[in-house]
Symmetry: C2
Amino acid sequence: MATILTPAQSAFIEEMGQFLGGYGMTPMAGRMWGWLLLCDPPEQTAAEIAEALQASRGAISGTARILASAGFIRRTTRRGDRREYFSSPPEALDSMLSNAGVIYRRLREIAEHGLAASGNSASAEARLREFHDVVAFIEAELPRLIDGFLRDRAANKTLMPVEAGGKEPS
Amino acid sequence: MATILTPAQSAFIEEMGQFLGGYGMTPMAGRMWGWLLLCDPPEQTAAEIAEALQASRGAISGTARILASAGFIRRTTRRGDRREYFSSPPEALDSMLSNAGVIYRRLREIAEHGLAASGNSASAEARLREFHDVVAFIEAELPRLIDGFLRDRAANKTLMPVEAGGKEPS
DNA sequence: CTGAACATTCAGTATTGACTGAAACTTCTG
DNA sequence: CAGAAGTTTCAGTCAATACTGAATGTTCAG
């Protein structure tokens, strides 16, 4: 019953937890995503995840909601099976990247508020203007960059359709 | 003595605090950077900052160290003045952007650890491979994007050297 | 309808970590 | 050297919040 993770697997999961935990999400969200990238089979029940991460069912439930609404995981059900299955779909990466875009958008908005508040100081206005312009540039160019990559990747897949969701014969 | 901030200024500072606070730095770091973008004159003593932000001197001291080591603020001193002056130099923006690069680097490293830990499952390896490749792509392209912007900006400045640190006649 | 198998909710707990403020330290002036 | 002005350190406080686990809600089989 005890899902035994190798030290390398635990380390990866913990790193993912610390990383996402450090950037606004909870550590559990990072661990769960990490586990769903690593696990086999790719679709896991809440019970399996809870056991692998040594976490309570409540934590899994709440975290799953956050991750699903952010587009990081997919929830699926099966006929004649009351359980729900979680997995990390390829689109998760798109979600992650577009999420990065949201960050720059927010920062640009804040910069605009700052600009609006800098009315009677030319030097403050200059500083905030530059801040705003840099952020706005990244905000505008990042999607272009990502789209280019996604298009390339899609093209490659069409040319050489490598079996992706596959199982190994062992 | 009470530095009176307009509501718009307070709002901007608080937004900056929440933003940076939400992404790994402390709220105070965000507020302090926000204030140094807004303030006039651009160089401020620790005492002035503490008063504007209604914070303790200890908090300013610690936060200043973090921000300075991250390249977000500049510390200067003046002959015959024991105080230290803080300001937000133009390079702060470069630091911010290269900081974003560090994030992708860290994530790519984590992805590599995951790949190494995915040994005996082909499907896990495929998921982690894709994760890694997306992150590595962004990591590689982001600096290019930024450099392009900085080069453009530098070129523009050379052509039309607008007075940037200026004071207005009122 | 009843009970079993899951999933979700939420009050409580524990931990983390940001900030305060007083004491210690440094540096400059007279 | 004495003292003033300023800065840094650090132990303690307080608030935020991630997680637990028991109770509640939901869905389906018999």
